[in-house]
């Protein structure tokens, strides 16, 4: 870094790029790749659940292999959904207070959804 162009004050405060600019972009792709693989498994288990009763469904989702993949799936889904909805809101909602309120609502709901789903899967797997 060439410090000749930086004022002493700027160096002292240390502001500037936080190097987080691409974090959203990268995480959207990382969760997308994960979901691309998990979606195929999810399709299989969703179709398998059609012709099972409660006990069968509980046992299928509760199998360690399926429970772990379901946990990965719900975490990736809610994470990816939050990242995607964030961009949609940023692009189309131009009233500041409404935009902030929507972003907060989306973030809270996605975290709540993920936590509730994780708790449910853990209960199914251990119960």
């Amino acid at each position: 870094m060439n410090d000749r162009y930086r004022t002493p004050l700027k160096i002292a405060i240390g502001l500037g790029s936080a190097q987080h600019g691409v974090h959203h972009f990268i995480m959207q792709r990382v969760t997308a790749v994960a979901l691309m693989l998990l979606a195929l498994w999810f399709l299989w288990i969703a179709l398998s659940l059609l012709h099972t009763d409660y006990t069968g469904a509980h046992a299928l989702v509760g199998q360690p292999f399926n429970a772990v993949l379901m946990l990965a799936f719900v975490v990736a889904v809610f994470w990816h959904a939050q990242l995607g909805l964030q961009v949609v809101i940023e692009d189309y909602v131009h009233t500041r207070w409404l935009e902030v309120a929507l972003q907060l609502a989306v973030e809270f709901l996605c975290v709540l959804g993920a936590l509730a789903s994780v708790l449910a899967v853990v209960r199914i797997a251990l119960g």
Partner: protein
């Protein structure tokens, strides 16, 4: 918003419809729809953790006409977002950037989404959909 109405860049109405922009819009629309679909996913998991009565209610909803319409819509949204998402990921690593490839891959994702949806519901019908 500024008080003076400033000129805007050309928007949707000036463009001829083409597969690239349709795929892009559908990707957002299906993504948003799928985000709402997570409510059912979350409900189904909670019901499965809660007990047979709660699970039966989710079953009943999925078998109702509203549930079936939603599930059908979500299955197509799922298929399109998955296939078009793969197209986006391939483009992210620099593949398929010529205009003919764009057009072809856009159509592939769109037609493929209908094929995948049909396959999903074929599985449902074959299994007898014990809803």
């Amino acid at each position: 918003m500024p008080a003076i109405a400033r000129p805007l860049s050309p928007h949707l109405s000036v463009y001829r419809w083409q597969i690239q922009m349709v795929a892009s819009m559908l990707h957002r629309a299906t993504g948003s729809a799928l985000a709402f679909g997570t409510i059912l996913l979350c409900m189904a998991l909670i019901a499965l953790a809660s007990g047979p009565e709660a699970f039966a209610k989710v079953r009943e909803f999925c078998g109702s006409w509203l549930g079936l319409v939603l599930l059908f819509g979500w299955s197509w949204a799922f298929s399109f977002h998955l296939l078009n998402g793969i197209r986006h990921l391939l483009q992210d690593i620099g593949m398929g950037f010529t205009i003919p490839q764009f057009v072809r891959n856009g159509w592939l994702a769109t037609i493929g989404s209908f094929v995948l949806t049909a396959l999903i519901w074929a599985c449902v019908v074959i299994q007898g959909a014990a809803a």
